[in-house]
């Protein structure tokens, strides 16, 4: 499977995500933000980081970059697109995913391990997880507080477009285990066609038992399925 990782000057999870993909034998290409042509890809990943410094609004400038215009085109044609952390923020800024990521409810950067529950495994990104499985991921963001209008929120729930929700160790979903204030404990969402996933937690940080755990491996393995 051919993957492309988009590299903005302020990306800082690009190397991590490339490592995760290469571990699973993806043929991966790093694509510099000034490029105007995308290599032929089955999967495009927009990694975490601070794209262009994010001094304006996270992802706002990146969404207007040359390469993102190309990403939007192929995404609309059905190419798989995964946005993690800053990548999720960028995807909402382009409109590929609806809603917005506001400042965390405690107004501080949050870097910690959290639990998410796999809510929908019937999609290209999550098919290796068991429905209801509790996963330990890591978050590291200032703006991860997912917000959208009530109609869209209802649509997300009704159409089962929320693959991950924040929960506790046992899988209970409640406000106490909502680290950043996201509506309905949303940790990630899919678009209608389910070819685009945006998520705040970092699965690429959970691929090695010595460092953390292996809970992220199946996300990448699912894509190969």
């Amino acid at each position: 499977m051919n993957s492309s990782v988009i590299v903005f000057p302020g990306s800082n999870c690009d190397r991590d995500i490339a490592g995760a993909l290469e571990n699973l034998q993806f043929r991966n290409t790093m694509v510099w933000h000034k490029e105007t042509v995308l290599p032929k890809s089955d999967l495009i990943v927009i990694p975490g980081g601070f794209s262009y410094g994010d001094y304006l609004r996270s992802g706002a400038i990146a969404a207007k970059s040359n390469i993102l215009k190309e990403v939007v085109k192929v995404a609309n044609d059905g190419c798989l697109v995964l946005g993690i952390c800053n990548g999720f923020q960028i995807l909402t800024e382009t409109g590929l995913l609806k809603g917005a990521l506001l400042k965390n409810k405690n107004l501080k950067f949050l870097g910690k391990d959290i639990y998410v529950k796999a809510m929908n495994t019937d999609n290209k990104f999550c098919n290796k997880y068991k429905h209801g499985q509790v996963l330990k991921f890591n978050i590291a963001h200032n703006e991860g507080n997912y917000f959208t209008n009530p109609n869209h929120l209802k649509e997300l729930e009704d159409k089962n477009l929320i693959p991950f929700k924040y929960c506790d160790e046992k899988g209970n979903i409640n406000e106490e285990n909502n680290p950043n204030g996201s509506l309905n404990n949303i940790a990630g969402i899919l678009n209608d066609k389910k070819n685009i996933l945006g998520m705040m937690p970092h699965p690429e940080r959970m691929i090695d038992q010595i460092i953390s755990n292996n809970d992220g491996v199946n996300l990448f393995a699912s894509l190969l399925n």
Partner: protein, 726 residues
């Protein structure tokens, strides 16, 4: 402009220093030259009060590639890998403007590391604030922590360890020390020494603005009631640009274009150009019209003294300018050839076709003032307290009070603001004795820690100096790492005060003795004097950053309890030293008396034996016993694990408080499976090491027999409560 006495004084120069300038130049300096002398001769850049003491520190060792004197220290960790690291203070700016002060502190130390060709792999910090009740503390705390987090998170280097402490001595002068650690190919280390004449001197990075002018001079004076006015001397950080600069420099370093490279830190363009020329025994000529400026109409004086961040100076090999320029353009950074190396041994400054300044390099560097300041010894304080005379307190109450106290409370509210996992090699995050960073794509890892014990150093600087080195050593051992070398950040008051100078001199003697004995050399460091306000000096606060090596990351170990039924063995002897302890301070507000004695042979013997037991896989978990004593160390082993402990009461010591809260040095706690116990004790006996088994791992409860029994979850809650109530 005529140089008057007032102008000289405003530049922080003493009358006799000004006379020396005239003598060296054989004329009066002009205003620009005076500014340059002031930037180079201040305490922060010249180390004029500390140099004669620093030179006694052991700086060599089998694994040392580069000791102090460069941008950072370099050690060899085998397989052509080198670790580059340094700690630096940003105290004064952080007090005036906490967010930017702390952020640029991180930025500055990162540049020191990647300037040498290393990719930074970890950040650490040691931050000291005034009393929590002081009106400024909360704002300073929040500002500093978010400044560190804002910079480190954005650039994408994990912040993995640190310490956050409170004491009224820092009410008017907080400490913000940042440490950076990088990894490089040992055959591709870059230095600041220029070589060859007529080579291009290149400016890269951000444009020069009017920020931070005279920052280093500000950091070389005490604060007074007008300190707020110094805000314009604080620089403003831009982590995004630093990221670009880092990537561009590392990209340029892949080929052989660079002769010499130096970041523009304190005293900006002045100190970087002088440093390069001085080390290379050359002259340097700068065409100041070519300096990329952020603002219009900037004068040579402003350009030379600006401390705008995220800038580098590079001396390039011939004909490499075009390729180098391409790299910096790719990263959207300024690139300007602003001068050349010369054989004049002068710093020559040209502006609008005129020579506006010309100073012999040695007058700025090797001939800078050097002081052997007066210093007085600190006597070992007497032991005057009889614990039997103190009001009785229950063991449980004392423990809970200490767990709730600001200094001993859990600091996850700080560390959760840091990205600890980016780069995906953090094998042990903060909260342990030391953090562990795997070397990318390799089996081995390094362990890193920062430590300080200001109250020990105040009570007896000589012992305190030894103790912090030992503390660092123990913290590395306790995670299974072999200690290699340290960096130090020496935060002291006014060196013109003989008592302060004595604290400095004696702490350094202590550091030296311990480093020598433990074969734990100093490879880099920084001195920060004039920490104080209105003649009130801070307590002496040397901070030590230690680095150790773990051959295989799989062999890492931490302090969390692993299995029910395992035995906890205390290694090293408890004498019950309560003076300068957390117990005396938090429970009785007693701050007098001597610090615990440091026995270097025991320290070494105990440490090496523990390390051997860890590598032989005889130990399930390990923890250093430090501030708070045995009981706090035991509580720490339980609180974040799934288990509690059943603790026996001591047979011998007459007072259990001495046993549980004494801060005797050289002690560890290790968790051992019952089947290994006899064997471990045999090995320890053979090495003449005192050990005693003191507890058994059990489910759920932390219990001292005949004293108290408490659920470990409640201990954890108490330990986490303070900040939420702050």
């Amino acid at each position: 402009m005529k140089i008057t006495n007032t102008i000289v004084e405003k530049h922080g120069l003493k009358p006799e220093e000004y006379s020396k300038i005239k003598e060296l130049l054989k004329r009066e300096p002009n205003f620009l030259e005076l500014g340059i002398f002031s930037a180079m001769w201040n305490e922060h850049c010249s180390y004029k009060s500390s140099r004669i003491h620093l030179k006694n520190l052991p700086t060599k060792g089998k694994q040392v590639i580069q000791g102090p004197g460069e941008n950072a220290g370099v050690i060899d960790i085998g397989d052509d890998d080198a670790i580059v690291f340094k700690i630096e203070s940003h105290n004064h700016p952080s007090y005036i403007e906490p967010y930017q002060g702390a952020a640029t502190g991180v930025g500055g130390i990162l540049r020191d590391v990647f300037t040498m060709g290393a990719r930074p792999i970890a950040l650490l910090n040691s931050i000291h604030f005034g009393s929590p009740g002081h009106p400024k503390t909360k704002t300073l705390l929040n500002g500093v922590v978010s400044g560190i987090s804002g910079y480190g998170n954005c650039i994408g280097i994990p912040t993995v360890a640190g310490e956050t402490k409170f004491d009224s001595t820092y009410n008017e002068n907080i400490l913000v020390n940042a440490m950076a650690v990088g990894c490089a190919d040992k055959n591709k280390i870059f230095y600041s020494k220029a070589k060859g004449t007529n080579k291009s001197v290149v400016y890269v990075g951000s444009k020069t603005g009017r920020d931070g002018i005279h920052g280093a001079s500000m950091a070389s004076a005490e604060f007074d009631e007008n300190s707020e006015d110094k805000k314009p001397t604080v620089q403003v950080g831009d982590p995004f640009t630093e990221k670009l600069l880092m990537e561009a420099c590392l990209e340029l370093m892949k080929d052989n274009s660079i002769i010499s490279i130096q970041d523009m830190g304190a005293a900006g363009l002045t100190s970087s150009s002088v440093e390069m020329a001085s080390k290379g025994d050359l002259g340097i000529e700068l065409q100041l019209d070519k300096v990329p400026c952020r603002e219009e109409g900037m004068t040579p004086y402003e350009m030379m003294l600006s401390e705008s961040q995220e800038r580098m100076l590079i001396v390039l090999e011939d004909k490499k300018e075009k390729d180098a320029k391409k790299i910096f353009e790719k990263w959207d950074l300024d690139f300007a050839i602003i001068g050349k190396t010369t054989n004049t041994n002068n710093l020559t400054l040209k502006f609008e076709n005129e020579t506006v300044g010309e100073i012999p390099i040695d007058a700025l560097a090797s001939k800078a003032p050097l002081y052997d300041r007066k210093w007085t010894k600190t006597k070992l304080p007497e032991k005057k307290i009889n614990i039997k005379d103190l009001k009785k307190i229950k063991l449980e109450d004392a423990l809970l009070k200490i767990l709730y106290s600001p200094n001993q409370s859990n600091k996850s509210w700080v560390t959760e603001q840091f990205d600890q996992m980016v780069m995906t090699d953090t094998a042990q995050r903060s909260g342990a004795d030391a953090a562990i960073i795997r070397i990318h794509k390799k089996e081995k890892a390094i362990a890193v820690t920062v430590d300080s014990s200001a109250n020990y150093c105040k009570a007896h600087p000589l012992t305190g100096g030894k103790q912090i080195v030992c503390e660092s050593w123990r913290n590395l051992i306790a995670v299974g790492a072999k200690p290699i070398a340290i960096t130090n950040c020496l935060n002291f008051g006014n060196p013109e005060n003989p008592k302060v100078m004595g604290q400095f001199a004696e702490c350094l003697i202590g550091l030296k003795e311990a480093c020598e004995f433990l074969d734990f050399p100093v490879v880099s460091g920084n001195v920060s004097f004039y920490n104080g306000t209105n003649k009130k000096n801070i307590d002496p606060t040397p901070v030590v950053g230690g680095v150790g090596l773990i051959q295989n990351t799989k062999n890492k170990i931490n302090h969390l309890l692993k299995k029910e039924g395992n035995i906890i063995l205390q290694i090293g002897k408890t004498f019950g030293h309560l003076y300068q302890s957390v117990f005396f301070k938090e429970i009785y507000s007693i701050t007098e008396g001597p610090p615990p004695d440091v026995n270097l042979p025991n320290e070494k013997n105990n440490g090496m034996s523990v390390l051997k037991l860890i590598s032989d896989k005889m130990i399930a978990s390990a923890h250093d016993i430090s501030a708070g004593g045995l009981i706090l160390a035991l509580a720490e082993m339980s609180m974040s694990s799934e288990y509690g402990l059943k603790i026996e009461k001591p047979q011998k010591l007459s007072n259990i408080m001495e046993f549980y809260f004494g801060e005797d040095q050289g002690r560890y706690l290790v968790e051992i499976e019952p089947k290994n116990l006899q064997n471990v004790i045999k090995i320890l006996n053979k090495n003449n090491i005192f050990s005693e088994s003191i507890a058994v791992v059990q489910k759920d409860y932390f219990e001292v027999l005949d004293e108290f029994k408490i659920n470990t979850k409640d201990l954890y809650k108490t330990n986490n409560k303070w900040y939420n109530n702050y």
